[in-house]
């Protein structure tokens, strides 16, 4: 499917003049399909407290933001769409949704609207169709990254680039061994943080007086964050999800995480990163999730992003990934069968 806007045509965003009639019809159509949330705290609204007097962040939260991590270059330094552009985006979104074509996860959504290329391709597992998609949280933002101000990842250091290159050249064949498959497919971890808005991108927060559990539906991972003065974990113990310590600052839960394993990658950063999260409830149904990644061995400056999680009525389900991983067995079995039939193997997978 091709949408009306061609690649790079900021003019079409600016000059589009939707008729009042069309906007009204659009609003009626979209009302039940796509939720929109302002991220500003409502005046006079006070966040609820737990029985221990902490800000109450509990609930099931969805990361279904349609905003890409990095700002598409056509928006330059603009952090927000104009009202007109946003109306236009909503309509484009509805067309994408109604097309019944490929699923668009993560950054794919806004990019598809901008470029008109409504096709996704998952190099690892093949394609997902739109039945995998939930309704996306449409916001008028142009990137999740709020710092640097251009909404894009800071430049990589020389060391970071060299590391990425070494990693790429050392990549295993995707079908010779299970070790050549991405960590997600092996059901080991979806990473920390897991920020892609896709399917199962749900979190549940439960708070006690002395700890916070952040449940991630993907592979039933739970981060248990001690609140208070607990000394840091010995630096020799490295963890897939790092070692977290938390405290409250006003209405915000702040969590600092270190001790990442060298295999635990996030956008090219590994064991040297410090990851700082700030969870703030800004409305009954919106949890603002801000994170800052610092790793001077990977990027020239730290960077910060904000995702607005939205409240979900549904529970977290048990994602028994490893227990039902017939796909990994099938992939390897298929590769051995292909070899017996004299076929050429696939190229390595670029997946973090």
């Amino acid at each position: 499917m091709k949408t009306r806007y061609q690649q790079g045509s900021t003019q079409s965003f600016r000059n589009q003049q939707p008729s009042a009639l069309r906007v009204t019809a659009l609003a009626l159509t979209l009302g039940m399909l796509i939720s929109t949330h302002a991220n500003a705290q409502q005046p006079g609204w006070q966040p609820p407290l737990t029985q221990d007097g902490h800000p109450d962040l509990q609930g099931v939260w969805a990361n279904n933001s349609s905003t890409p991590l990095e700002r598409p270059e056509i928006f330059g330094n603009r952090a927000e769409l104009t009202d007109e552009e946003f109306r236009d985006l909503l309509q484009q979104a509805e067309e994408v949704r109604a097309s019944g074509g490929d699923a668009l996860f993560g950054d794919g959504f806004l990019n598809a609207v901008i470029t008109g290329e409504v096709r996704s391709y998952d190099p690892s597992t093949g394609n997902y169709d739109s039945s995998w998609m939930v309704d996306r949280n449409m916001e008028n933002r142009t990137s999740l990254i709020i710092d640097p101000p251009n909404g894009r990842l800071p430049p990589m250091t020389e060391e970071g680039r060299a590391r990425a290159q070494a990693r790429a050249s050392g990549r295993l064949s995707p079908t010779d061994t299970y070790l050549g498959r991405p960590l997600q497919e092996r059901c080991i971890t979806y990473g920390m943080p897991y920020i892609m808005a896709g399917y199962n991108s749900y979190y549940q927060i439960v708070q006690s007086n002395t700890s916070v559990a952040i449940i991630q539906e993907m592979i039933h991972d739970v981060r248990v964050i001690p609140i208070g003065d607990k000394p840091p974990l010995d630096e020799r113990v490295k963890l897939w999800h790092g070692d977290s310590r938390g405290w409250y600052e006003g209405n915000t839960l702040v969590v600092e995480t270190k001790n990442f394993s060298g295999q635990s990658l996030f956008r090219g950063a590994g064991e040297n990163r410090t990851f700082i999260e700030r969870y703030t409830r800004v409305a009954d149904d919106v949890l603002e999730y801000q994170f800052t990644v610092e790793d001077p061995t990977t990027w020239e400056t730290p960077w910060t992003a904000v995702i607005n999680y939205t409240a979900s009525e549904d529970p977290i389900f048990e994602y028994a990934c490893h227990e039902g991983n017939y796909a990994l067995m099938g992939i390897l079995s298929g590769a051995r069968a292909a070899e017996r039939a004299g076929q050429v193997p696939d190229a390595p997978i670029d997946a973090e």
Partner: protein, 285 residues
């Protein structure tokens, strides 16, 4: 405050008086399970069972392990068991299955493949688990396999939406005891390494009762009419991990079980790598 708590408190009060009034306040501080703001026992913390019942929930003597190279380290210790009232009341066919499981346990035990352990087995393993006790939900995060469960305290009628390896847990308070009803299980989990098993009809009634500040008396009633001729119970203490630096770590054992499960499908697999048995699914080769 329940009558039970009042009575217990009075007994302790009397005991303390008989020793000295100075130690009284200390004893109170040391002997009570911490409480939540709404007066419930606060089980939040890191807990672990001791002993060897995870090898066999029934009494058994020590025996050699499956791999001679592991020597004494790989041998299976003796256990007194944790099951009440004698021999497990299996139906004849379920007993026959247990014997099959036991004879071939290394190949068939789902834990060896890093599958989620189920309940009550997860509470019995030689790994800690952390309780994060909110008002409406209680989370139990297990170090083994990153297994977890959410106990719904506010939704007694919440029916299990899907079958679960860790079951579907709804809790309520009976005095100081946290009672959890766990249903909607997968049929694949076991109770121990000795092949004791259940069906998807399993229902577990768990009772967590505080006993001092650092111990929980844990009891699980097993109801599974497809596998057992009557309900039966097991119980064991859960101890608080007391080390000053105790914390939940990761035991993401998937990566430790992959060679066992997928190794035979690698391109250059050694000849001794064979397809795994006891899988919860099959693929067509």
């Amino acid at each position: 405050m329940s009558n039970y708590r009042v009575t217990r408190g009075l007994v302790r009060f009397t005991l303390c008086l008989s020793i000295s009034t100075v130690s009284m306040s200390m004893s109170f501080a040391q002997q009570e399970m911490p409480q939540t703001a709404d007066g419930k026992p606060d089980f939040s913390g890191l807990w672990q069972a001791m002993g060897s019942a995870h090898w066999n929930i029934e009494p058994s003597a020590a025996k050699a392990g499956p791999d001679w190279q592991w020597g004494a380290l790989g041998a299976i210790p003796a256990t007194l068991g944790v099951v009440h009232d004698g021999v497990l009341p299996y139906t004849p066919s379920a007993l026959a299955q247990r014997q099959v499981n036991q004879a071939d346990w290394l190949a068939l035990d789902p834990l060896v493949k890093c599958y989620m352990p189920g309940i009550p087995r997860a509470n019995m393993l030689p790994f800690p688990f952390q309780i994060v006790q909110g008002t409406d939900n209680v989370v139990m995060a297990y170090e083994f396999a990153s297994a977890m469960r959410i106990v719904y305290m506010d939704q007694p009628d919440f029916a299990g939406p899907v079958p679960n390896w860790m079951g579907h847990s709804r809790g309520h308070w009976e005095g100081d005891t946290l009672v959890i009803r766990v249903t909607d299980f997968m049929p694949y989990t076991w109770f121990d390494h000795a092949g004791n098993h259940h069906s998807d009809q399993l229902e577990v009634i768990e009772r967590y009762t505080p006993s001092g500040p650092n111990m929980i008396l844990y009891e699980a009633e097993i109801r599974d009419p497809q596998t057992y001729t009557r309900p039966w119970k097991m119980s064991f203490p859960l101890y608080r991990r007391m080390e000053a630096n105790a914390q939940l770590l990761e035991f993401k054992c998937v990566e430790f079980s992959e060679e066992l499960i997928y190794g035979y499908l690698n391109k250059d697999a050694p000849a001794d790598r064979v397809p795994p048995r006891g899988m919860p699914f099959t693929i067509q080769e």
